[in-house]
């Protein structure tokens, strides 16, 4: 198009750089404009409180990590509760089983009830000889243990729709409620 000479060459080589800075400028103004609007309309009102909470949390973790601070529990064992009481490891309150009428100690009530209501036996019947591992584990190490919690929230009852990551979508067009 134009006769290549020194001036043209230098201006042509500057073009990419020129475009880049224009684009960058445009992006910066985009962000500035959006942030300006957010600030002016008071949509970021909670920034300070959020920072404060973060700071408190960080401080708390430091304090708790320091072993000299934990006076409440001596070696992880409780001494007395706030009412001045102590409690045995296995709760020893005695009451009647509402299924069979026998007197059971509180701390052993759940295992008793399991057998009493026939659930334990049923579970045992279901287990075949080959699947020794998992099922038996479930029965004996029931701990305050936690079952596997899958990501398929939709498994839960219809009462709650745990929405995050719900499988599939809706094909309605209007704002109709989901059955």
């Amino acid at each position: 198009m134009s006769v290549p000479n020194e001036e043209n060459l230098s201006s042509q080589s500057q073009l990419p750089s020129h475009f880049f800075w224009d684009l960058l400028d445009s992006i910066i103004v985009d962000v500035a404009s959006e942030s300006h609007r957010v600030a002016k309309l008071g949509l970021d009102a909670n920034l300070e409180e959020d920072d404060e909470e973060l700071k408190l949390s960080a401080q708390a973790r430091v304090r708790v990590a320091d072993p000299s601070n934990n006076s409440n529990e001596a070696n992880g064992k409780y001494v007395v509760d706030i009412f001045g009481q102590t409690h045995p490891t296995v709760a020893n309150e005695i009451f009647e089983c509402m299924n069979c009428g026998r007197s059971i100690a509180a701390g052993r009530f759940a295992p008793h009830l399991e057998k009493c209501m026939g659930k334990g036996r049923k579970a045992r019947l279901k287990v075949t000889r080959s699947s020794s591992g998992a099922q038996n584990q479930n029965r004996y190490s029931r701990g305050g243990s936690v079952s596997t919690h899958t990501n398929h929230s939709s498994n839960n009852s219809s009462v709650n729709r745990l929405a995050n990551g719900n499988a599939g979508f809706e094909e309605h067009s209007n704002g109709t409620t989901h059955p």
Binding site: H87, M98, F109, A123, S145, V146, T148, N160
Partner: protein, 592 residues
């Protein structure tokens, strides 16, 4: 300085903008002819005709990145100061008669005052932009607008707000109270510790149940409901025995053996009522929730989804609320409207409504659905290489300053999880959705938001990962920061929609005319359920906040702890209550 409408500050106009508004009859009216909307995001720009390339009238250049169109005479000027001391835009504003100071940024559709040299905001201008954006995204479908306030979703009936009034029994009620009840605490003085603080005996690996029960026993609306005798267990049982003898007999046969109470039907609400009475009685010896366990096991065994073997506290929570709902809902034979909470106390307290928007990436057409939800399960962010190291180092410094300091410090936060929950998510190309407008399957953008907040928000952190490929599960121990006070307004549908349309001043879905909307989105933490240990061998503990004092409930052991202990704990389920309610409840030690 500025008024607050719909929870949003409406800034005062600058004098030039105010003057313009006063002198022109219908400002911005013809603007919609020039607003061009680029799908799918809906970014608005100003063009006289669609293919116009605007250029500065003064210097003829269209290259400068910011061009302003004067709203009085539509002359376009750039901001470059290459030719003189002041920019062409400023020169235009100064040289023309008054009324030419306000201009529109053609690429961003933002008002700019060349005299004040600052971006300014106007409600009518924003409304014009939003309407143009809405029309553009629903073109061809009959123009059904999703942005302009539509009728509320079916199950969201507006309740009339009433002011709190303390209960004042009349003469008849007072004599009834006097004859039919006796004071719990003979001395009449306030107890040293809050009522309702009582340990729960572990009945044999039942800490998953105890931890949730402790949180529920101190959930203000639930506590108030039961302590106000709204579900009287004697009355309920009597009603059950009166009708449905067949089912009573069937229940007895199913349970086998000798039932202690012959004609008793399972009612988890009745068992809760008994528990509340016992726990708030003033007796401080640990309570054994045996009857509750018995009833819940029977309920859990019935449903195919949960069995008694589930030991997860969160699953127990869902299951028992379902149990309360099922029984109460069946009795009342009322329409099953979970979202509004009309069906039972469980939903009245915990149920909110989530809004899901699916937007076509090609044309911007959005389809919306509403679903009730009883809690929100949140994913921890995926593990980025070495966050633990960063977090450990960062915890020794205070992270202050920037809004994204949590990212800098590498700490996961509850608000971060909520941000991710409400973030617009591009669905994969294998999940194409049929767009009503395009009439073909298109890629879509999905976004969740909260249409209606529940009275009590329960956040469940998904700490247990199941890997189907490795056939194993693992627990994520990563620390999650959670605030004691939480403002949920950024996650509301109105806020999410507003940000989608560029944060314009406009009443979006969910915005209510009354100012009390602000207070409704502020929540206070009152209970934290924590899990420590491994997946199959762990322990649940609940921290309770009563009268701004924290207590640790570890089965039968109730001890007092410092708030730092709670802040540093590994949260699994966090319970927040609407501040409006909470504020009243913490006035005294005695449960009000």
């Amino acid at each position: 300085m500025s008024s607050k409408i719909n929870g949003q500050i409406s800034p005062q106009p600058c004098p030039h903008l105010a003057e313009f508004r006063r002198t022109s009859s219908k400002p911005f009216l013809s603007l919609h002819n020039c607003l061009r909307i680029k799908p799918p995001g809906g970014r608005a720009s100003l063009r006289r005709d669609p293919h116009e390339i605007p250029h500065c009238t003064a210097c003829g250049l269209s290259a400068p990145s910011r061009l302003y169109a004067c709203i009085s005479c539509t002359a376009v000027s750039c901001h470059s100061t290459a030719t003189g001391v002041i920019s062409h835009a400023a020169a235009h504003a100064a040289s023309m008669s008054p009324g030419h100071q306000i201009a529109i940024d053609v690429d961003r559709a933002e008002l700019f005052c060349c005299a004040c040299r600052d971006q300014v905001y106007d409600r009518d201008f924003d409304a014009a932009v939003v309407i143009a954006q809405t029309v553009a995204s629903t073109l061809g479908s009959g123009g059904e607008s999703k942005v302009i306030p539509t009728p509320h979703p079916e199950n969201l009936r507006k309740r009339r707000r009433v002011d709190y009034r303390p209960s004042t029994p009349d003469l008849r009620e007072r004599s009834l109270i006097g004859s039919c009840s006796a004071p719990i605490d003979g001395s009449g003085r306030s107890p040293d510790f809050p009522r309702g603080l009582r340990g729960l005996n572990n009945l044999g690996n039942t800490c998953f149940m105890n931890s949730v029960l402790q949180a529920l026993l101190h959930t203000p609306p639930l506590r108030n409901y039961f302590l106000s005798d709204k579900h009287n267990r004697y009355f309920c049982q009597k009603m059950n025995n009166a009708d449905g003898d067949d089912s009573a007999i069937a229940t007895r046969k199913k349970n086998g053996g000798n039932n202690g109470n012959k004609n008793e039907r399972i009612c988890l609400a009745c068992d809760m009522d008994a528990m509340f009475s016992a726990v708030f009685s003033g007796d401080r010896l640990p309570y054994s929730p045996a009857k509750f366990l018995y009833s819940w096991w029977q309920h859990a065994a019935k449903s195919t989804l949960a069995s008694y073997e589930q030991q997860d506290a969160h699953e127990f929570f869902i299951s028992m609320l379902d149990g309360i709902h099922e029984k109460v809902d069946k009795d009342q034979r009322k329409p099953h409207s979970e979202g509004s909470g009309d069906c039972c106390i469980a939903h009245r307290v915990f149920s909110g409504i989530l809004r899901s928007d699916v937007m076509c990436m090609a044309c911007g057409y959005t389809s919306t659905t509403y679903d009730p939800c009883i809690d929100i399960s949140l994913d921890l962010e995926p593990n980025q290489g070495g966050p633990t190291k960063i977090a450990a180092a960062a915890s020794n410094h205070s992270c202050n300053g920037e809004a994204d300091s949590s990212q800098n410090c590498g700490i996961s936060t509850l608000t971060g999880c909520l941000d991710r929950f409400t973030r617009a998510e591009k669905l994969g190309s294998n999940q194409k959705f049929f767009c009503q407008q395009c009439q073909v399957k298109q890629e879509t953008l999905k976004q969740m938001s909260i249409r209606k907040l529940p009275l009590v928000s329960c956040f469940h952190i998904k700490r247990f990962e199941h890997s189907s490929s490795k056939k194993m599960s693992r627990k994520v121990d990563r620390y999650l920061q959670f605030p004691f006070s939480l403002d949920m307004s950024p996650y509301l549908s109105s806020s999410i929609l507003r940000s989608r349309f560029g944060n314009r001043i406009f009443p979006f879905d969910g915005d209510e005319p009354d100012a009390s909307n602000d207070l409704c989105s502020e929540f206070e933490l009152f209970a934290v359920v924590t899990h420590s240990g491994k997946l199959d061998a762990g322990h649940y503990v609940t921290y309770l906040r009563l009268s701004d004092q924290w207590y640790k409930c570890d089965d039968s052991w109730v001890t007092q702890v410092d708030e730092n202990t709670v802040r540093a704990a590994q949260g699994y389920m966090m319970f927040y209550v609407q501040k409006m309610l909470y504020y009243k409840a913490t006035d005294k030690l005695v449960a009000s």
